[in-house]
Amino acid sequence: MRRAWLHRALLVLEGGLLALLLAAPLLAQWLAAPFWLDVATRIATLALAAVGLNLLLGLGGLASFGHAAYLAIGAYATAIPTYHSIYGGAAWLASDNGLFHLLLALTCGGLFALITGWLALKTRGIHFIMLTMAFAQMLFYLLQGLETYGGDDGIGLDARSQLPGLNLDDAAQMHWLAAGLLLAGLLLYRLLARSRFGLVLMGCRERPERMWALGWPVRGVLLAAYVVSGMLGSMAGWLSANHTAFVSPAMAEWTHSGELLFMIILGGAGRWLGPLTGAAGFVLLEEWLSSATIYWQLPFGLLLMAVALWQAGVPRREERA
């Protein structure tokens, strides 16, 4: 009884959070607090990447510890054509067209997911976690080696993506784009979760052998989910590059992948609005802790341990009852 009440309160809270996020530009203008608009855009961007991860972990039961790689892929797919359109060279790649950037981000993200996913899905469980981590780190080193595009230091975006009818230099319009895409991503998740594909995916999570015996190509289904998940991540990367106007290999670092997983666990894996709650929780926590102390990773790390222990303790307690 009390749990149901809590559940409803959480739903109301999450609905409020979504409304708050969508109205953030108006609120920020009204309260004259542009800083909070910046925070809200960051939440929307990370939440979109987390929606992708939630599709994989929540529905497919696959924990990827390399999802930050897709943010980096999307970001570099924006920064590299922009660089060439301003400074010349590589005419076939040079463009300031935002739709081209997005398309390139989705293609590269999808391809990287297809190749690394095909390899990593030869295994499950802990091997899958370690492999996705290793492939993301490979990308990290690859990006570090790109001396033309700043190497280790990364590279600033000297012009944001050009989109018809939108000016991304305007913080409010940038935010509406991010929030709009997040909404689209959430709806896509909802659609997929209720579709035949989503049901098969959940089946592959619960009883892969039975699904295989029923004739479903289990590995293919999981790979499809992985690719969609990676593409959502690279879309978030495209947004992130345009939001911060800066890309660097550090975006692919595995600690960021860990933060994305933390968001999913915080919001509850497989819950529709979980990624939004998790992303908001993480970003606000990080803002709050890092403004209080430079040692913010100490309380954050302890909290992470507590969340993991608590989350692992829940099923055991239910078993006993």
């Binding site: 469980g125 091997h127 080696g145 600690t255 100490l298 302890l302 341990m305 969340v307």
Partner: protein
């Protein structure tokens, strides 16, 4: 002996040395996984802590060797604390995601603590005289004494670990816990203490790797995140839970990484235009070990030497 041959020999030595350092890190990781079924992301933090603690103790005692030796029990205690705190409540395969998250949290917390204690600056250590110079091997070849020392320590540890696992009572009990912890407990093996001892050994080995790196690269906070992924690559190639696999894979990875960085440049220049070779070589050499991992995965998804399957009650 020609200069080229000497260069190749030096690079081979560097490869073996890196491989053995990686083995020290990967051995603990694979033992902890093999016996406890626990994935320890905080293992990289053990490397970093070993480096800082040994450098600090070396400063207090005035002797590098004493610093390294005194660091080992400290690291063993830290390892035991982590076992009690995280590995014990989160044991079992159904907790793998929670293990990864919790030990990631532990890694962040330990890094912050290290930053509090030692600051963001690196920390160096002074080697004793007998390890500093070059060691002549005859035939006009001289190799750095310290690198030969690392190779010697690495091989000695590998031999001792092998003897411990195969021929000592403790190793036998570890293997019994790995195969079936409940049965081992029923037969009177002190499982709780055995779990602690595996973690203590793993932490001490990782700390040793960190301490041995200090004279080459200095102790730094970055060590905590740098070595864990490459150690993962090693245990994936070798087979998760296998010590022999970790040893062979570590040498393979160390060798390929070192030789790739040293010679890929020239090799590519022979077949590619100069400009392309110069951009491709650094990227390719840093990716080489991951390509090796992908190759192994295609042929043998469970690694080169997968350990026998665990019996789950």
């Amino acid at each position: 002996m020609s200069a080229e041959a000497a260069l190749i020999l030096t690079q081979l030595l560097n490869g073996v040395q890196l491989g053995l350092l990686l083995f020290l890190v990967a051995a603990g990781l694979t033992l902890i996984f093999g016996v406890l079924d626990f994935v320890n992301l905080a293992h990289g933090a053990f490397v970093m802590l070993g480096a800082f603690i040994s450098a600090t103790l070396a400063r207090w005692t005035g002797s590098w060797l004493a610093g390294v030796l005194l660091m080992l029990p400290v690291m063993a205690l830290i390892g035991m604390a982590l076992e009690l705190l995280l590995a014990r409540p989160l044991s079992g395969a159904h907790h793998h995601l929670a293990q990864v998250l919790a030990s990631f949290g532990a890694l962040l917390a330990l890094m912050s603590i290290a930053m509090l204690l030692w600051g963001t600056q690196g920390m160096s250590a002074e080697l004793p005289g007998w390890l500093r110079g070059q060691m002549s091997l005859g035939g006009g070849i001289a190799l750095p004494a310290y690198r030969l020392f690392i190779v010697g320590v690495g091989l000695l540890v590998a031999l001792l670990l092998h003897l411990l696992l195969r021929h000592a009572r403790l190793g036998m009990q570890w293997r019994a816990v790995a195969a079936n912890a409940q049965m081992a407990s029923a037969l009177g093996a002190p499982v709780a203490w055995l779990r602690l001892s595996v973690f203590a050994l793993g932490a001490a080995l990782a700390g040793l790797a960190g301490a041995l790196m200090v004279p080459i690269t200095e102790a730094s906070l970055g060590m905590a995140v740098e070595y864990i992924i490459i150690a993962f690559v090693v245990v994936i190639i070798g087979g998760l839970g296998s010590l022999k696999g970790a040893f062979i894979a570590a040498l393979l990875v160390g060798m390929i990484d070192t030789l790739g960085r040293a010679f890929l440049d020239d090799a590519l220049r022979a077949v590619l235009p100069l400009e392309l070779a110069e951009t491709a070589a650094p990227a390719l050499s840093s990716m080489s070990i991951y390509l090796l991992m992908a190759l192994v995965l295609i042929i043998r998804p469970a690694g080169l030497f997968p350990p026998p399957a665990r019996r789950r009650p």
